[in-house]
């Protein structure tokens, strides 16, 4: 996750792409965590739209986490050339965790 000292010929600033992918990972994990904690009864996210129920509040929270993370990461990384495998690997891990945390059988393990 560091800036390259010397960029190879044709190298481009890939920070904006990495910011988008990591933000998506953070958003996925954030949504999964909100859903998981809500199902465990740690807290209850209020509904944003009553007829659709609590899912509207939970997903809105996930979207806010995603967008905030994206804005922060993009503003910091947009002009940088960065080593990609670590950041992208972390993005994939967060996406996988986020998906797992939204699975009902996982909630019932706790």
């Amino acid at each position: 996750m560091t800036m390259a000292g010397r960029e190879p010929e044709g190298a481009i600033a890939n920070g904006a792409a990495l910011a988008a992918s990591l933000a998506a990972g953070i958003g996925a994990f954030g949504l999964g965590l909100v859903v998981f904690l809500n199902e465990l009864g740690v807290f209850e996210v209020p509904a944003l739209y009553g007829p659709a129920g609590g899912v509207t509040g939970r997903t809105a929270a996930g979207v806010v986490i995603w967008l905030v993370a994206w804005v922060v990461l993009h503003s910091r990384w947009k002009d940088r050339r960065m080593e990609s495998s670590g950041v992208f690997g972390l993005s994939l891990l967060l996406i996988a965790l986020g998906v797992v945390l939204t699975f009902p059988p996982v909630w019932r393990l706790f």
Partner: protein
Amino acid sequence: MDIPLFSYRSILTMLHGLGAGGGGLLALFAALFALLTMRTDGHPDATVERRSRNLRWLIVLAAVLVWGAVIGGTYIVFPPYRATPPEGLTDLTAYPRSLLTSNPETDWLHSFAMETKEHVPWIAAMLGTAAAFVATRYRSRILSDPTIHRMTSALLAICFALAAYAALLGTFVNKVAPLE
């Protein structure tokens, strides 16, 4: 007596599932296929520029359709699905969630399938948006830069897998307890 071919609620379900969801899946698959087959190792030329422009619009369209399916599903189709029937009602056909949970053999279609469908598509929408952003910002580099190409392909592939999974579960739910 006129019998309508489709009810208003079933038209909404079709717009959600077939229109936005199915269209999004088609666009995602086409974009992924194009991305994987049009990759180039050289410097972008006019042909690559033109192809990447078309591909960019396809990925943006896919993301828009996935968001349409997600928001329409949550805010338009889900409320009538989860509506509570009046006390004492025995025919639950008009109340899909109650119909599913009233039978132990179909309860999983709510407690697993629909509960999963409530959240996973939102993750797909985030990934599709990230891919659309990368395609828009990096233009022909999505075909010529190995890192950007790999990242966009992976985001689209996961987005497609999650959207397809949600669509499959939605098909099961709609088969047993359609919104009519």
